[in-house]
Each structure stands twice: as structure tokens, then as C-alpha cells.
């Protein structure tokens, strides 16, 4: 199968106030269509920088070093002009940002922001787009979705804002969703609900998911392959089964050993 996304020798450098930071130092991986791949690793290891490089949203202080390549659906993303990139971002690649509070437009009702996604995806009728938005907010478990759609981001709790971001990504039905810590502010029941929605989308629309997360339970629940980053480098790439049962790199073993596991009493009998 040809890859949907190919990242080759990606190097991202931030020009810092004192010195440059090599946030991503030569990372290569591929994601097949419809595949759910975890990107895990140390805090500050370059996961978000990798994601931002893929969707072309690294800030001005960052530069992608020569020799890096990112191909998506056969196109060289590093040579794409901004108008083409903007088009690609809504329709083909959607990103759920790590900081949902900062990513949402503070002066626009959340329902309108979700409805915009429906409009980008091809819906022409505004009222219908709004109805689709409310329906999707309901599916991601926002209670009283019709009323909450009228709220502004600051009126919602952390996990509610995260679900608004997810609703936007799900409505776009892109071929790749990059989800950066998409469920870190959700209680486990809602988390289960949205993860299962994400997998439903993956099966129905063939959407691939690059799931950035610190929660190894989420990886075990949803991903088939995992990439492990540390200090800007990819130290391990394995199936999730191998990751948990035959980890090769010492850092991966360290992660697994530190994974908090809920101890439950053994059921009687």
C-alpha cells in the first residue's frame, strides 16, 4: 500500500532568544491510509513540532532544515503555497490542537465554529450546517448541545472545549486527523465515547489518525502502530502489540514501567 503521509528526515529548528533549539532532529515515518498511529514520548521531545510541520503551521521562529521532506497524498507539502495549504488543511488534514482553549476563536460561538467545518466540507445551506454542528456536538457527548452551541469558548469547561475541537475535525471527514492530546481533559467515559467515534470515522471514511498522547491506555485502546520520540529523535517504531510486549528501546521500557495502571480488586470466584 502506498503511504498517505511520508515524513523523511524531518528537522525543525526554533530560533530561540539565547540559542537555537533543534526541536525535531531527523525524524522519518509513514502513515498508511486509514491507519491509527500513536506518537508518544517525552514532554518537549518534538511531537507537537512534528505535527505543526506537517500541517504547515510552525510559527515564524521555526525553520524546516534543508533535506527534510513531507509528502502527503503524493504531494510535496514543503513546496506548497499558502493558498493551496489552506485548502488542504480544512479538507484533507484536520488538526485537534493540544491547547483547545487557545485554538478556538474566543469571540465566536462554538456552534458557529463547528458549522464552519460543515461549510468547508461542502454543505451549502447555513441552517443545515448549523444543524449538523449541533448533531455532531451531541455525538461527542456535549450535554444539551443545542444550548451549548450558543456558548463562547470561555463559558465551557476544559473538556467541553476539547470536544468542540473534535467535533470540527470529525465533521471535516479528512483523510488524516492529527490529534494532539485530544482527550487529556475528558473523563474516562466521555473519552471512551469520543475515541470510539474517532474509530468509527476511521472505518467509515478511511480516515487515518496520528494520535499524539501521553496516555498509554489510549494507545492500547485505539492504535495499531506507535512511534516513540525522545529529544527530537524517533527512538522506536513498532506495532502497538510489540510496543507493550516486546519493547526494544530502553526509553520505551522506561515509559511502560512508569505507566500508571489502575489496580482493581480481583473479582471473587
Amino acid at each position: 500500500m502506498t503511504a498517505l503521509l511520508e515524513v523523511e528526515n524531518l528537522r525543525v529548528t526554533y530560533a530561540g532568544a539565547q540559542r537555537d533549539v533543534a526541536a525535531v532532529a531527523g525524524v522519518s515515518f509513514a502513515v498508511a491510509p486509514g491507519e491509527v498511529v500513536a506518537l508518544v514520548g517525552e514532554s518537549g521531545s518534538g511531537k507537537t513540532a512534528t505535527a505543526l510541520a506537517i500541517i504547515g503551521l510552525l510559527g515564524e521562529s521555526a525553520r524546516i532544515e534543508p533535506g527534510s521532506a513531507i509528502r502527503f497524498e503524493g504531494r510535496d507539502l514543503l513546496r506548497l503555497g499558502e493558498p493551496e495549504f489552506r485548502d488542504l488543511r480544512g479538507r484533507r488534514i484536520a488538526m485537534v490542537f493540544q491547547d483547545a482553549g487557545a485554538a478556538l476563536n474566543p469571540v465566536m460561538r462554538v456552534g458557529e465554529q463547528v458549522a464552519e467545518a460543515a461549510l468547508v466540507h461542502g454543505e451549502r445551506d447555513k441552517a443545515r450546517a448549523r444543524a449538523m454542528a449541533v448533531a455532531m456536538l451531541d455525538r461527542v457527548g456535549l450535554p444539551d448541545a443545542a444550548r451549548q452551541a450558543r456558548a463562547y469558548p470561555h463559558e465551557l469547561s476544559g473538556g467541553m472545549k476539547q470536544r468542540v475541537m473534535l467535533a470540527i475535525a470529525l465533521l471535516l471527514k479528512p483523510s488524516l486527523v492529527i490529534a494532539d492530546e485530544p482527550t487529556s481533559a475528558l473523563d474516562v467515559t466521555v473519552q471512551r465515547q469520543v475515541l470510539s467515534l474517532l474509530l468509527e470515522l476511521q472505518r467509515e471514511s478511511g480516515t487515518a489518525v496520528l494520535m499524539i498522547t501521553h496516555d498509554l491506555g489510549v494507545v492500547a485502546e485505539t492504535c495499531s502502530r506507535a512511534l516513540v520520540m525522545r529529544r527530537g529523535e524517533l527512538v522506536e517504531s513498532a506495532t502497538v502489540d510489540d510496543l507493550f510486549h516486546a519493547p526494544r528501546h530502553a526509553y520505551t521500557r522506561e515509559l511502560l514501567a512508569a505507566m500508571p495502571r489502575l489496580a482493581r480488586p480481583v473479582p471473587p470466584g
Partner: protein
């Protein structure tokens, strides 16, 4: 227990009123919430997303007004305190907000942010303050060279640790941690939890720990309160509540905790595949 509680919350009620253009709306986020935390204990507040945990914590710290109820800290009526004693009390009660980015001043460098409390409360200055900042950053796994950076130059988890270092800098007696370790990789998370446990043992630090990760809660908390729709539905010692939950919602929560092994048959991935296959399975059997 009442006598020894450092923090006591009684009948707390928080209503968010927003004045819209055409209509006023009111959301009752917290309703009749009561709990106590004895010195040196860690109370975890868990529950539904949007059930009022952050609202309760903010009201308890008097960062937002509450509509009913009382809060006492070390015997003092917090809600009735005049501005000056309240300012002094703030040194003893610290908070790490759920949203680390918006709680860090974007125009200040990390060093200034972490030292802020030391300066405001006149606890240290100059070289002493710098040394304290450097040692705190190390304790939360950050590079002391990060003091020169601005918040936007940091990753999500690095920001979260700056907020933790800032809160611990003034050596508080009580700390509210609102989803404060959720953006950390598990090894760094373990390091921060160990630091909190150390402070609890060595200095009897008291915590209100808000989190969704129940495995983390099981490790760090001594007591737990489960919230749903603004109310506490179950509370007690962590072992009691997690081992023999009495409320339906607590059971639902515990059952929804993610598996810790991809081979676990309850993993969503496997279930989805199964649900996708029944047509084939049925056809084969016939």
C-alpha cells in the same frame, strides 16, 4: 475530623451568569458541595467533564464568587476576609490551573514567572530567588537554562511544569492542582508525583487534586470525591471508593478506565473490528 481539617468547604454553590446580547443565562455549575481536607491529605476530585470541578476549586480560592456556602482555611473564614489578610493567605494557598498557557504571562520569562510569588510575598530576592527558581525547575524536570525562555517557546508539558514550579516556589501549605500532570509523559509525571508525595511527607503539604486519570488518582490521593452534574455523589478514602464503589456513576467511571494492554479484549480497537464484521460472521455460520 472537623477540628483537624485544614480546608473545609460547606454547601458551596456556584452559578455562572453570562449577560448575552438578548438573553441572560445562568448555569449552576456547583450545587451543595461540601468536603474537608485534613493537613497532609490529598483529596482527589474526579468526575464528568463539565461537572463543576474547576468552578468549585476557583470558588474555594475566591477567584470567582460563590452564591452560597462557606470556605474555611486553617480556621479562617476565607470568603469574609478583608483584602490585606486575603493577600497574605494567598501565599499559603496556591493553584496550578487546568489551562497552563493562559495562566502564564506571555510577556514574562520563565524565571520571572516562577520567582513572582517569592518577590510579591517578599520571601527571597536576587541570587537567593534565582537559586530557588533553578532548583525548582530541576525538580520538575526542566532545564535551569529554560529560565530565559518565554511561555510560547515551551511545549505543553513544559508550560505545565512551569506552573507547578511557580506554585511550589512560595512553599504553600495547600495546593490546588487542576489537571496539572495530564500533559506530562509518564516518566516525568511520576517524577512530579514523587515530588508532591515528598512534600506531603516532609512538609505536610495538603492537596486538592483534580484529574481524569483514575490510575494517577489512585496513586496520589488519600481521599476521593466523585462529582456528577455539580454535586458530590460519593466520597471516602481512596481504597474504599475505588475497591467497592457504591454509586452507579463511580462504577461507570471505573469501568471506563482505558485498558493497559492492547491484547485486552475490552480494547476499543478490537470491539470496533468485531462490530464491523458481524455480517460476515453471520453469513459464515449459515
Amino acid at each position: 475530623m472537623t477540628g483537624s481539617a485544614l480546608v473545609a468547604v460547606r454547601g458551596l454553590r456556584v452559578v455562572h451568569r453570562s449577560a448575552g446580547l438578548f438573553a441572560r443565562s445562568a448555569v449552576t455549575a456547583v450545587e451543595d458541595v461540601s468536603f474537608e481536607i485534613a493537613r497532609g491529605e490529598t483529596l482527589a476530585l474526579v468526575g464528568e467533564s463539565g461537572c463543576g470541578k474547576t468552578s468549585a476549586a476557583r470558588a474555594l480560592l475566591r477567584l470567582i464568587p460563590c452564591d452560597a456556602g462557606s470556605v474555611t482555611f486553617d480556621g479562617t473564614d476565607v470568603l469574609a476576609l478583608a483584602p490585606e489578610p486575603m493577600r497574605r493567605l494567598r501565599k499559603r494557598m496556591q493553584v496550578v490551573f487546568q489551562d497552563p498557557y493562559s495562566s502564564l504571562n506571555p510577556r514574562h520569562r520563565v524565571g520571572t514567572i516562577v520567582a513572582e510569588g517569592l518577590v510579591v510575598h517578599r520571601l527571597a530576592s536576587g541570587a537567593a530567588a534565582q537559586a530557588r527558581v533553578a532548583s525548582l525547575l530541576k525538580e520538575v524536570g526542566l532545564d535551569p537554562a529554560d529560565t530565559a525562555k518565554y511561555p510560547h517557546e515551551l511545549s505543553g508539558g513544559q508550560r505545565q511544569r512551569v506552573a507547578i514550579a511557580r506554585a511550589l516556589a512560595v512553599d504553600p501549605e495547600f495546593i490546588v492542582l487542576d489537571e496539572a500532570v495530564s500533559a506530562l509523559d509518564v516518566t516525568t509525571q511520576a517524577q512530579v508525583l514523587a515530588l508532591l508525595e515528598h512534600l506531603r511527607d516532609a512538609r505536610r503539604l495538603t492537596c486538592l487534586f483534580i484529574a481524569h486519570n483514575l490510575a494517577v488518582v489512585q496513586r496520589i490521593a488519600t481521599q476521593v470525591a466523585v462529582m456528577q452534574r455539580g454535586r458530590i455523589v460519593e466520597a471516602g478514602p481512596i481504597a474504599q471508593v475505588f475497591d467497592s464503589p457504591r454509586h452507579e456513576y463511580t462504577r461507570t467511571l471505573l469501568d471506563a478506565v482505558p485498558v493497559s494492554d492492547p491484547r485486552d479484549p475490552r480494547a476499543l480497537r478490537g470491539q470496533q473490528a468485531e462490530r464491523a464484521q458481524p455480517a460476515v460472521g453471520v453469513a459464515n455460520r449459515q
